[in-house]
Structure formats: structure tokens, C-alpha cells
Symmetry: C2
Subunit: 180 residues, 2 copies
Amino acid sequence: MSKEEAIIKLVPAFRQYGYEGATLSLLSQASGLGKASLYHYFPGGKSEMAAVVSEYVSDLFEKMVLKTLQGEGTPELKIQAMCSSMAEFYKDGKNACFLAIMSFGEADKLFHDRVKARLQELIQALAQVLTETGIKSEIAHKRSLDAIATVQGALILVRILDSTEPFERALESLPARLLN
Amino acid sequence: MSKEEAIIKLVPAFRQYGYEGATLSLLSQASGLGKASLYHYFPGGKSEMAAVVSEYVSDLFEKMVLKTLQGEGTPELKIQAMCSSMAEFYKDGKNACFLAIMSFGEADKLFHDRVKARLQELIQALAQVLTETGIKSEIAHKRSLDAIATVQGALILVRILDSTEPFERALESLPARLLN
DNA sequence: GACATTTTACCGAACAATCGGTACAGTATA
DNA sequence: TATACTGTACCGATTGTTCGGTAAAATGTC
């Protein structure tokens, strides 16, 4: 098994159980690798596994979601495209956000700076598109932050209420909220 | 030490470290009671501690926040009052939401139904006030859900970004978003 | 009021289980 | 033969929990 395969198999484990909840035996089971093998690929242990997996998911998010914001097209269409790719990325809200997961408990102590930086990147990328429409930089930043908060909150509500409705609704209202 | 005193001292421990992160030795230290003594007040162990503390915080939220929605006054004023009390309850966003904390990892398995029920109560209480303004029940429910998502998301952003700004902004926009 | 009894509050020490992590011998592959 | 990988056994530390017991307060009995 390649390292990337291992990473891919570890993603849902961390996503479902969180950093502290994902025990080594669980990660071993999820990946199909023995503990010794896990330490071969990730000499830094559990924290390195989480770091690498987080990075992998962040890159995936960049490729799947942020990419839609760059390139040609009207801001309206780009934001529409971003919402679609977000629905796919988060599986209609059933997938928790990795950044949020890693902002709790012990994981927060380990990865706080990295998570913060990644989120700021995201905020800025979104704000960038808004300024293209002529919206003032300050307001663009405000709306971008508000939009991300709405999505994050919706992801929590989905998990608690056992319904993807809040997430779908959040995505629906997102373009208007950002552009108007 | 009375049981209520113990509960009060356990609140910040669970809030800061989460369910899984709040170890018995940590809870013992936070409460000032020996581990064995904790089992005197909470024979059900850690899960009972978390359950009782959650219930305590929920009741506090009801007294501090939901209370402002009932009684006399225009819906506008009541919602304004709710925002103020929310700012106090969540300490400008520095306090994480207990429901959200208990919706992660192992805690979710233990308390899912209770958390879900409490959140639904909250959504309905808020929607109820909106219907008083003549807003249709369905739309009121929608907006209530959206508002709570915004607040929840803002609480996450505050923790990641080390700034209370997202929360303050979310509260500012809340009345307009609910009523207009 | 004086004494006996029970209840309450609390703690030190130990429990089995599991945690994250390591050592090492062995197997596969080149 | 050299390197990459893996299964097994093991480690010290910590987890949540329980046991046996103490000191004091409350309660009952006379």
C-alpha cells in the first residue's frame, strides 16, 4: 500500500471520530495497516498522521472548491460553481469540516496556527472574488467571513439534527448573501 | 461542597477541553474534589457529569437568553434583547456552545438525542417570536435555523481566528436577518 | 441533654483496560 | 545482499472506575 492510499483511508477515521477519538488501534483498523506499519509511514506518530491527513484534505478542498473561484467567468457564476463543488466536497453536509474538527481539544493545541492560516487563506480567496464585482475590499472581507460562518454553522446543525436541510439551505442563500 | 457548586466548577472544564479531553484527573483538579468524591455526586461517572453539566448549562441558557423572548414587548425589542443576552452568555464568542461540544466524537454517541431535542426547542422558541410579527410559520422556521447556524459558525470562527470579531458581527446582523 | 446510630461527604489506593509508542525479528522485494 | 515493509510482543503512562475506609454531620432514642 502506498502512503497516499494510507492517507486516504485515514481521512474518514479522523473525520468521524475526531483527533482524540481516533485511537491508534482504530486508525490501524481503518487503514488496514498494523501499528508498526503506520509508524513506518508516519514516524511522528498520531500527530503526524493527523497533520498529513489535514494537509491532504486541505489540498483537496483547494483543488475541488477554491479552483472554481479562479480563472474566467463572471463572479456570479464562479460563486455558483463554488457552491456546487462545496455540496460535493461536504457530501451535502454529511461530511464534517476538517478544519473545524482540528480546532477542538488537543488537536487545537497541536494545529492551531496551521488551521488558522488555512482558514484565513480561504477567507481571502473568497473575498478576492467579491472585490472583482466592485465590492469594496472591507465589505468583501466581511461577507466572506459571514458566508464561511454560515456554512460552518450549517455543518454543525446537519450533524445534530440528522438532516442535510440546513446545509442545503445555507448553500442556496450563499450567492445572494455574498453578492447582494 | 454542594452538588451545584461541583457542577459549576465542572462547566468550564468540559467547555474548554470537550468531553473526551476532560479527563477524570482534570475534572478532579477543576472541581477540587478527589476522583472518588466525584463518584459520590455522579455515580454514573464521567458521562453523568457531562449530562448533568449540560443540563445545567441548558437551563442557564433558557433563563438568560430564551427568557428574553417571552413576555411583553415588540418582537424587534425582544430579539434585540436576546442578542445582548447571547453576547453575555457566550462571553462575546469566547465561550464555546455546549450543544456543539457535546455533538462531537464519543459525546455525540452518548447525548445525541438530548442535544438534538434541546436544539429543536431553541429553534422553535425563536421561530415562535418571529411568527408574532406576522411572518409565516414556515419562513420563521427557516430564518430561525439560519440564525442559529450563523451564531454556531461564528463561535467556531472566533476560536480558530482568535478574534471575537466574527461573533460580534454575527450578532449585529442577526436582528435584520431575522425580521427583514 | 446524652448517647447511639445512620447518613453524608470525602479520600487514598488500587483496579483492569487502553492509550500512544517502541524494539525487534522476520518477510518480501529488488 | 540490501532495503522496504510488517506482525508480534511489549513498554510506561494514563484512562475511567471501584473498593475500603474515615471524619463529621444529621438523626433517632432515651
